[in-house]
């Protein structure tokens, strides 16, 4: 049911997705859906949560494996891009539809973005003397680039953005006076 929700919102948008369509796509009885979820928004949130958790865990695992410093950030970014490319429906649901579906879902999007900000802050090289808002601005910049590609149905190709995005994210952490990019 959560997969069906992700696919349908990605195809038609949240507003145009009806419970009847989800039930038909998932091949379950209407009653089964309502036994598990109070309604469309709750199902959407459950599907969002599952996808966001999977993405976050993939990024965390990649970071942990990569050790310290720049390699850690690069591994996390590569894992994120890999997840989005492999799950285009979930990518669209989390990065595009969640923002406009409802006030609750857009708050959930903000919370997800914040989790990635904290992940970046925790993985990035020491940011001595850098602006305290740096991780937030970088994560927001990456999200913006990804949102535009996903909206154009180019989620599968986001892997190609790796060199530019990793340069963007890492450059501010490189030493003062050294080339920034």
């Amino acid at each position: 049911m959560m997969d069906a929700m992700a696919e349908l919102t990605a195809e038609r948008g949240y507003g145009a997705t009806k419970i009847a369509d989800v039930v038909a796509r998932a091949g379950v009885a209407r009653k089964t859906l309502y036994d598990n979820f109070a309604g469309k928004e709750e199902l959407f949130l459950a599907a969002f949560e599952a996808a966001a958790t999977e993405a976050r865990e993939a990024v965390k695992a990649a970071c942990a494996e990569a050790g310290e410093g720049e390699a850690r950030v690069e591994a996390g970014l590569a894992a994120l891009l890999g997840f989005l490319a492999a799950h285009p429906s979930q990518a669209r649901m989390c990065m595009v539809e969640a923002l406009s579906a409802s006030a609750v879902t857009s708050a959930r999007y903000e919370a997800m973005l914040h989790e990635f900000v904290e992940l970046l802050r925790g993985s990035a090289p020491p940011a001595l003397g850098r602006p305290p808002t740096l991780a937030e601005t970088l994560a927001g910049g990456v999200a913006w680039i990804l949102q535009q590609r996903i909206r154009n149905d180019e989620a599968e190709a986001v892997g190609a953005l790796f060199p530019e995005l990793s340069g963007f994210v890492l450059s501010p952490y490189r030493g003062i006076g050294k080339p920034g990019c």
């Binding site: 507003g15 406009s100 740096l134 913006w144 530019e164 920034g180």
Partner: protein
């Protein structure tokens, strides 16, 4: 936006219509700031603007159409402020131009939280029609940033995605602060945002020199 005098006032119908339209746009912007997009209704907008529901529909077919007009007007106001800060500098003065543009942007937004809310928060949240406008606005700022920009300190061209990510990242940061109810404090972020925007082009040391007024 002032209400018109009651009764016979000798104002032209065009003037009245234009005044009503501007009041509706201002009304929507205020109501949106107070209750958010989903709870903003045509009746709330009309009440705030002191315009009847039937007059509302003479100007706009729907809440969304009024919203688009308000969005365009908000972006135009921001562009004017930023544009006049930019035009104080010649083409050769890229770093101070970017510095003053960002500083005037943040000051304008901090002085007007409803303006900051409609432009930064609702652009991504109100659905496709507004998203396209948000994207176009960000694109135009990417163009401003690019114009006359130097290559990176190592001599390489700064990649296009970097410009986009700088502008999108700043918009995201500001939007999150506005969402947290901190619109009025945006001006405090001026030095950080300028350093962030300039660093990929100038390196950290030079970016900081510009931040501190160099």
């Amino acid at each position: 936006m002032n209400r018109l005098p009651r009764g016979r006032h000798g104002l032209s119908p065009e003037y009245v219509a234009q005044n009503q339209r501007e009041r509706l746009i201002a009304g929507l912007t205020e109501v949106l700031y107070e209750v958010g997009y989903q709870k903003t209704t045509v009746s709330l907008i009309g009440r705030r603007a002191a315009v009847s529901k039937s007059d509302f529909y003479k100007h706009f077919q729907s809440k969304d159409e009024c919203f688009y007009a308000a969005y365009d007007s908000a972006i135009e106001r921001i562009r004017e402020r930023v544009g006049s800060a930019c035009s104080r500098h010649g083409d050769d003065a890229w770093p101070p131009r970017v510095r003053d543009a960002l500083s005037s942007l943040l000051t304008a937004l901090a002085a007007d939280p409803p303006l900051a809310t409609i432009s930064l928060v609702e652009g991504l949240r109100a659905g496709p029609g507004v998203y396209d406008r948000y994207q176009a606005a960000l694109e135009s700022f990417v163009g401003c940033l690019r114009e006359g920009a130097p290559p990176a300190p190592d001599g390489a061209e700064v990649p296009r995605a970097t410009d986009e990510a700088i502008v999108g990242g700043i918009a995201s940061l500001l939007g999150r602060r506005v969402l947290a109810g901190e619109a009025a404090e945006l001006a405090q972020l001026v030095p950080q945002v300028i350093e962030f925007a300039l660093t990929p082009y100038l390196g950290t040391e030079e970016a900081r020199r510009i931040v501190s007024g160099g």
